[in-house]
Symmetry: C2
């Protein structure tokens, strides 16, 4: 069992690599090797008894994909993406990585004829527009960002390559991941982690929306668990649509802060400054939060029990020492 | 007002060219020129006072697209496609024409910066899978053919290029066109015209499915009317999803044959041979027929009144003389 994680240098890719190595097996077989691939050399990680390699791969380039994806690859996690704000600013980069990169990986595997399991991360950004609530497994995908549009096209490719028998694909629309470790980024959703992460680290943070702002969240730890469960689903149970929303939960900013206070005491919440940012509000208010991931739940994927879990997981897994 | 019809050599492209020339105007402006483009030189047509040119264009080739699509093009009809059974047999050709060809046309227009109206023909083949009936404007696209998957990706591209302001796109999911003139083609739906067309021409035809097989149809005449109406819709009325089902009607094979008998007498129906073809049945039985095209109807598009109209239009517009 050889596993390739494309996007293995990212937050989810690194955590997934560590979790797989600790587990030592996937789909009933011992893991022989984990390969972390990314556009720049991913950070190495200690896999214990499981060898972990790192390689550079630009999925926009078919030759680079051919060098990275071999006939010995049994499971491919395709996590690499140009994310929302970046794809809005750089339209060509979004098309090159999110659309053509996905196509290049699938075409490489088709040429090999080995039919590996391909676990593709889509996003709840595929949802938008005038589609009525609630969003179910049978709701129209009407993305209002290029990132969402390209992810929706990736889903269609994954389904069609799977229907043709070229891959055994399964795709999961990730909720917003919180509490995400690391530094703030330029994504409009960045504050959805930083208003918790920075205060938990004793630093100030700015909240640009009202405290009743609702959104759909999942912890990094649960996301990784679901990605492993997702790889293990029997192909016959996936039906005619292999892409589905990964379970998350809807929380308001107020509920998230209350959860932080319940777990870590009253001090962190005092470090949040409230500063309305209408441009951020305009983007995030178009996002959907009333999502019903029934298919994924039936297949064994799950959400965090309460946002207190999300806070605890951050403290246990990610909070910098000292 | 210069109009480019890509796929201008096909049945719909030729009829559309003739109808536009006869009309002489589109979107409130006199038509200066109509250009018919196709992979092989399209048949010329007499546009009366409107000049009609023909050019060869391979949309899979960006250079060919650049030679064909100029800054003087105001309205592009993008009708060219590798149809269903053909795309199932030749996976690469389907990707090259249906996905990359659509992307090449949109990228060319984006590079020109002229924001033309782009009328894209999608297909009801985007619908399938386990999505519950009825199929509405907000139903999930779950195609079960490569053709349908590639058309669904074309819709996402059209919407995203429109949202970004690169084109003024509008896409219409065509019902199966019947009675289609000419010869059988490589669409799995080819029999849905030939079981009527050949008998109306005094020839034998084979029906590969049972007489209670239901499907969703539109006449070529109504399709062309709708494509013209579709180009004239005000951009502001299209909302956040510019792609919609073109209205058609559901009929069974029995109802279609009865309509033929009502219009043309009892002799044609006697020329139909019933011969089950499981491969054709497998493709067409995945197609949806309980479609509710509410958005398109609200925007002024319409279906045939009864299938007797479809028969009459064939006799009036297309039946070979003699």
């Amino acid at each position: 069992m050889n596993i390739l994680i494309i996007g293995g240098g990212g937050v989810v890719g690194q955590k997934l690599g560590r979790a797989l190595a600790a587990r030592g097996a996937l789909r009933g077989q011992a893991i022989g090797k984990i390969t972390l691939a990314d556009i720049t050399d991913p950070a190495p990680l200690d896999g214990g008894t499981v060898p972990v390699e790192t390689v550079t791969c630009d999925i926009a380039d078919p030759a680079s994909v051919a060098a990275c994806v071999s006939g010995e690859t049994d499971v491919i996690y395709l996590l690499a993406a140009i994310v929302s704000a970046h794809a809005e600013e750089d339209f060509e980069a979004g098309l090159a990585i999110n659309l053509m990169g996905t196509l290049n990986v699938l075409q490489r595997v088709r040429a090999l004829g080995t039919k590996p399991v391909v676990v593709f991360t889509s996003s709840i950004a595929v949802y938008g527009g005038e589609v009525p609530d609630p969003i179910t497994d049978h709701s129209f995908l009407n993305p209002q960002t290029s990132y969402g549009a390209q992810k929706a096209m990736g889903e269609l490719l994954l389904n069609d390559f799977s229907r043709k028998g070229f891959v055994d694909g399964r795709g999961f629309r990730l909720p917003t991941i919180s509490v995400r470790p690391g530094k703030p980024n330029r994504a409009a959703s960045s504050f959805m982690s930083s208003i918790l992460r920075e205060p938990l680290n004793g630093q100030e943070a700015v909240c640009p929306v009202e405290e009743d702002f609702p959104h759909y969240y999942l912890s990094p730890r649960k996301c990784v668990e679901n990605l492993i469960t997702g790889a293990e689903i029997d192909e016959g149970d996936l039906g005619q649509n292999r892409c589905m929303t990964m379970p998350g939960r809807m929380w308001t900013i107020r509920q998230m802060i209350d959860a932080m206070t319940a777990v870590a005491g009253p001090e962190p919440a005092k470090l949040i400054r409230w500063e309305a940012q209408p441009d951020i509000r305009a983007i995030v208010s178009g996002w959907r939060f009333d999502l019903r991931p029934e298919k994924a739940v039936a297949l064994g994927l799950s959400a965090d029990e309460s946002f207190e879990d999300n806070i605890r997981y951050y403290l246990e897994d990610d909070k910098p020492a000292g």
